[in-house]
Amino acid sequence: MKLEIHKLNSYYGPAHILFDVDISVGTGEVVALLGRNGAGKSTTFRSIVGLVARREGRIVFDGEDITNRPTHEIVRRGLGYVPEDRRIFTELTVEENLMVGAQPARDGAPCWTPEKLYTLFPNLGEMRGRLGGRMSGGEQQMLTIARTLMGNPSLVLLDEPSEGLAPKIVEEMANAILAMKNEGLSIVLSEQNLHFARLISDRAYIIESGRIRFGGTIRELEESPEIRDAYLAV
């Protein structure tokens, strides 16, 4: 297993948000974490990379327990994180944004250069010197993914990569994620509904009110509309 989460509980101050969340991701797999607004998808991701101050349970990445490691150490082990609010450095150019994400190449993970990323996201290649703040939402979404890939991760957490994108861009995004998968990357992505996730995922989990309600293949999920209707937005 690439990533194993066992009985994860997370808190924001006194509020208990995640309850005994169990998730596992195999090497090279694309796993979707599905759930409605406020279900706990982002909190799960933030907990994995150590951005939630109080978290309990066990998170094992590449066979090592990373539960209580600081964020930068977790990321340096090859666990990339793409936040849902993108958080582009608006005062930095596209090239400089990529530079911030750069980490040395590592074994067992695809190696990315700016040039290679510009072929994956051709839009970015045409605006290397542009400030992050002067880009459209879709371009920013591509940049934030490219920036994380510059760290040469072996697994990435993509928080709602299709959020707010036009249909044509969504398609490009799906292709880009499949290309990442073909490079051998393991991917966990969060989504609110099935449409996008089913194009690219092997397996899916459904989270609701901070609890995992379903885990199985995409096919299994598609064959049980009652689960889909109960927990997902249509």
Partner: protein
Amino acid sequence: MEFFVVQFLTGLASAASLFLVASGLSIIFGVTRIVNFAHGAFYMLGAYVAYTLTERFEGFFGFWGGILLAALVVAAIGALLEIVLLRRIYRAPELFQLLATFGVTLMVQDLVVMIWGPEDLVGPRAPGLRGAVDILGLAVPTYDLFLIVLGPLVLGALWILFHRTRWGVLVRAATQDRDMVAALGVNQTWLFTSVFALGIFLAGLGGALQIPRNAVTHLMDLSIIVEVFVVVVIGGLGSVLGAFIAAVLVSELNAFGILVFPKISIVLVFLVMACVLIVRPWGLLGRPEGPARQPAGLSIRPWHPMSPNQRLLMLALVVVAGFVPLVAGNYVLTVLAEIAVFALFAASLHFLMTVGGLASFGHAAYFGLGAYGAAFATTMFGAPMVASLLLGPLLGVAGAILFGWFCVRLSGVYFAMLTLAFAQIAWSIAFQWVEVTGGDNGILGVWPASWASSPAAFYWLALAVSVAGIAALRVLVFSPFGYALRATRDSALRSEAIGIDRARVQWAAFIIAGTFAGIAGALFAFLKGSVFPDNLAIPMSVDGLVMVLLGGIETVSGAVVGAVVYKALAIWLVSQTDLSKLVLGAVIVLLVVAFPKGIVGFAEDLMARRRARTDDGGAALAAPAKAAPAAPGSGAAPIAAPKMEAAR
């Protein structure tokens, strides 16, 4: 004409050092969000170390090597300070770091005198640049020309560093969003340390380069820090180019202000700063801050009005305090009266800072105006003491009405800086308008009425006024106005959305705080029998800040405890040791590290933990949960903010 050109060049030369120091402060603030009060101390250390090194190693290489080495030594000390002290308190409320660096400043002031003695030291001239160059018939020191060239060179070097190296790009990224930088695998710890070291290096270099121009004195830290704050605020926090432009502007204002308005030369710079902030609240080249971490209100524990038992306890304490004159001597009573006055002063600042979330760096202005008001009423109009005590604070109120109107248009660090500027304007007027205020000599003969002239009687008066004032402020905290004020603190945007006129509420809070500070000041004038410009100077404002922070900024009653502890400690130390600043600074630093939530905050945590242990279960909520740094809201404010997002 020629004279003006030369004056202009002198201004440019002064701008160089100012720019170096200010850019250092700006860079440090940009990334670490620390307003490094100790920056002036490092500037001073740079000058002293350079003095020693250039005396020891003579000649061309001795001099220039000494200057550079001095800056490096100081940078190393700065890095050490960051590692040993600041790292522990990055997560503390923003102003706590200011308090810590203020403690360091105090320590350095005494240490410098211990090591180098109290006399001014005159450093060597720069080899190779000793003479003067003839410009339009007037002699301009070659060294000045060197400095004029150096400023833009350093600006260029910094630009290359920040735009052409990965380190620089990381720093710029961290200036915008340091948590995201960490989420990309960058170890912030070392990034912060290196940024701090660079900033301190620039401060040290700025100080070292001063030695051929000016004598090295142990007062140079405070004089530069105020100017540097002004430069950084005019230029825009975090902007190096802004710091450069503002340094030139301020230096030229100084150079020409002396000629054009000799009387108000000091005021001029601050007036310009106030104007800039009103037109461009983020400085010339600064950027609006995001919804930054609030200085107060990070606490999860809600505030409560006192329970009947607690009220009884307070009453008992006041009664006990009332009986002190039966056992204490005159000296002790005078000290206690002073502590009472400062408790009221601190409580008024606390109201503004903690309840209003507006950290004022210039609260002494209203204290001092109240003191001057009382002095004017007594000495000019011969008013009796009670009348003066009532009339005097009105001057403070007037000041708060006027200055507050401008200040509440800003928030965060910029608000703090503007309050500082206004306080400095008030100070300059008191200092320079000699005909009315007596200038440096102050106003003497402000004695209390005969019935209050004994130390015991005055103590009772001070105690009564102070207790009444503090009680009134506390009632306000839990009044509808207090809730509205807290709403503006927790979210300016949301409070306006529910119909609170933010600016008006904050202005009212500013005036209330100024009023009580003025009352404290009027009492202080009668306690001392005199008023001086010192009463509204920066150290007095800083004293107020220290008291509030020491007590605990997230608590309701911290200010009073902080005032009592700090004032008692300060007075006692002065009577015990010549190195009172060293000890006081060290105590402040230790308290900051040991009690990052202040004395009262610490006590409350302790009590909450005890309670949680005795009745487990639901009490888990009361335990001091470790708040995520960005967690908004305090008290009753709900933490989870539902996100608005169109369903798809």
